[in-house]
């Protein structure tokens, strides 16, 4: 048996290990490539990671309730596509309305997910797997599998523009993080989310409307995916039918690396932030080191497994 120590090293590492991991990774890449830690590269890295960051935040809400959202990649594609269709210069629609369309599509798809999962009792894995297909199909239908170029300049600023030297996607992500943090930790709603994931039965018995909470987190995930879709479309200056494909993998990875338990109730938003920063740093750093994309996939998987193993140390305490 372990001796009882004043400072619980193991617990500390289990809890904060991810930050250590992030630090090690950053130091490693800086040593390998001095250009890694420059302002320009860091801004690049943050900009590239902001889409995944938005999805990861939404995924955190979902995972905290013990659910999962496999459809976020397709929702990114669908909302991006509809936003693009509206944002074309020929329609004359102002850019902010086009953005609203994107957000609404995401919200709607998220709502459908939420209803199917919370009220029709379909398991989240299955329901969102179905939505993954459905949303993608709708996206192809709406665009006839053709890309949608010719977007208005105002709309293009969202994903491609800067405020000063800071790219707009980074600002959007920061704003979303601040709001999400406040909601999760400073409101009653946030507490209900944690409670629902931790023990849905106790939650219900204590008067929390578990179904409503469950439904709502998918709406959050959906609208954030919608926002991500708008940014993606704006960045590539064209609505892409295949946009967002496979993005859900990275979103789940970020949440999991950050120490959010997939069974719900246990997790932390700052963990998710560290999670997507780790993934962003890995992508960016390995690219700078010209590591082949095949190895990058292998490494990504190893990190995910490693992070979960680290996190499991939290649970095994006697």
């Amino acid at each position: 048996m372990d001796k009882q120590k004043k400072f619980d090293l193991r617990g500390f590492i289990a809890k904060y290990g991810v930050i250590l991991g992030l630090a090690i990774i950053m130091i490693f890449f800086t040593i390998m490539k001095t250009k890694f830690l420059t302002m320009e590269n860091m801004l690049n890295m943050l900009r590239q990671t902001s889409i995944n960051g938005l999805l990861a935040v939404g995924m955190t809400f979902v995972v905290l309730t013990g659910g999962i959202d496999l459809s976020v990649g397709s929702i990114v594609g669908a909302s991006g596509m509809f936003a693009a269709l509206v944002a074309r210069s020929v329609t004359g629609v102002p850019w902010y309305l086009a953005i609203c369309v994107g957000l609404l599509v995401g919200l709607l798809l998220g709502l459908i997910n939420g209803i199917i999962i919370a009220y029709l009792r379909v398991p989240a894995f299955i329901a969102t797997l179905g939505m993954l297909s459905i949303a993608r199909g709708v996206t192809f239908m709406a665009s006839n599998a053709q890309p949608v170029p010719g977007l208005s300049p105002g709309f293009l600023k969202v994903g491609g523009g800067n405020l000063g030297i800071i790219p707009i996607p980074i600002l959007v992500l920061t704003a979303v993080l601040i709001v999400s943090y406040t909601v999760l930790y400073k409101t009653r709603y946030g507490r209900y989310v944690f409670a629902t994931g931790g023990n849905p039965i106790s939650a219900r018995v204590s008067g929390i409307n578990v179904r409503q909470i469950t439904c709502s987190v998918y709406m959050v995930s959906g609208v954030l995916a919608g926002l991500a879709g708008v940014i993606l479309t704006s960045r590539v200056t064209s609505g892409l039918a295949a946009g967002g494909e496979k993005y859900e993998v990275d979103a789940i990875a970020a949440a999991v690396i950050g120490g959010n338990s997939l069974s719900g109730g246990r997790g932390r938003l700052w963990g998710t932030i560290v999670g997507f920063l780790i993934m962003g740093a890995m992508n960016n750093g390995l690219d700078m080191m010209a590591v082949s994309s095949y190895w990058q996939l292998v490494i990504k998987g190893i990190i995910i497994i490693g992070a979960v193993m680290l996190d499991s140390l939290n649970e095994i305490k006697a």
Binding site: D2, R10, I13, F28, M32, K33, T34, K35, T38, E40, N41, N44, R47, Q48, I51, A145, Q146, P147, P149, G160, L232, R235, V236, T237, S238, L240, A241, A242, G243, E245, N283, N284, D287, M288, M289, A290, V291, S292, S293, W295, I299, I302, G306, M309, L310, L313, I316
Partner: protein
């Protein structure tokens, strides 16, 4: 439990050190040597004068997961070695957003030039904008991009490829029959232009009917699936026109499995296609000199960096491969 933690830390350390030692990088050796020579934040864009610093260029291909683009990449690497410059190769994963990120990385990595093989003609335009804004010249290769800021383009006339393959089929059918068309990824210049070529020839033959057309995204397995469905849907298909070899080969698999024998034609001249033409599985393939494109693109970019004038376009011919001349192509293809 402590042991487990220690074990994990050691494992991660092991993997990381393996990565450095094994030379997983596409070109690790030269890079490690030039590291000390580079100062942080130096601008290599203005000069090729300092002979101590190697010229560095980057190439992003829309994918490295198919034979044709790998040919381009390999030829580019060979040429880069020949010229004594450093080349970093990126796999765009069929995602324009990834390619934009890769170009951003190349910019902050201090590349002197960039070769772009875009997944989508429109969506990858920001790649060129960003590079040019940073003062880095961009040479396009193999697929086109909607940008007038491109310094030069090295490729083959895809419209011609479409015309060549459609004409071959039209001749085979004597100007009359039912065909199906399998397309590349919608929005990629090769798909757009080869389709245009096919359409140009079809206009001359009103008795050739197109039963169906669909994209199979350059993929053999998708081509097979699409063909299987069409075999079920249509009684009488006389020929298959596929915009590339992979899809043509996939279609032939489906055709063989159904017990029929419908002629098919593709573009690129990949190894399997050459073998197929030889054994009569494909009636022909329109060979695309990917290696030539990759090599030329590096050459052109090198000239640009050295301050020489270059043409706007460098066209490399498509060539028809039939049973009679297969051997010649087998020797040429890498």
């Amino acid at each position: 439990m402590k042991k487990r933690l220690l074990c994990m830390v050691l494992c991660v350390g092991l993997v990381l050190s393996m990565m450095c030692g094994c030379g997983l990088a596409d070109n690790s050796a030269p890079k490690e040597q030039t590291q000390p020579a580079k100062a942080e934040g130096d601008s290599e864009k203005t000069t090729g004068e300092s002979e101590e610093e190697k010229i560095k260029i980057g190439i992003t291909l829309y994918s490295l997961k198919n034979e044709f683009t790998v040919r381009i990449a390999n030829a580019a690497e060979v040429k880069a070695n020949e010229l004594g410059i450093e080349l970093v190769v990126y796999d765009g994963n069929y995602d324009p957003s990834t390619q934009i990120s890769q170009v951003e990385t190349m910019i902050s990595d201090g590349c002197d030039g960039i070769i772009l093989n875009p997944q989508d003609a429109q969506a990858c335009a920001p790649c060129v904008d960003k590079a040019v804004e940073a003062g880095i010249p961009v040479v396009g290769v193999n697929t086109r991009v909607e940008s007038d800021k491109l310094t030069s383009y090295v490729g083959s006339q895809d419209v011609l490829a479409g015309e060549m393959e459609m004409q071959k089929i039209a001749d085979l059918l004597d100007g009359k029959g039912n065909i199906v068309i399998i397309e590349g990824p919608m929005g990629q210049s090769a798909q757009i232009e080869r389709k245009e070529g096919i359409q140009n020839i079809l206009e001359k033959y009103p008795d050739i009917k197109v039963l169906a057309e669909k994209t199979a995204n350059w993929s053999r397995s998708e081509g097979m699936t699409v063909m299987e469905n069409w075999l079920q849907a249509f009684d009488e298909i006389d020929a298959v026109v596929a915009e590339n070899d992979e899809m043509a080969l996939g279609a032939r698999e489906a055709i063989k499995a159904s017990g029929k024998d419908i002629p098919a034609i593709g573009v690129d001249g990949i190894t399997d296609a050459l073998a197929a033409v030889e054994e009569g599985n494909l009636i022909a393939s329109i060979f695309q000199d990917g290696a030539g494109q990759g090599s030329k693109a590096v050459e052109v970019l090198y000239d640009v960096i050295k301050g020489k004038d270059v043409d706007e376009n460098y066209w490399i011919d498509f060539e028809e491969v039939i049973k009679d001349n297969v051997d010649e192509f087998k020797k040429r293809a890498q």
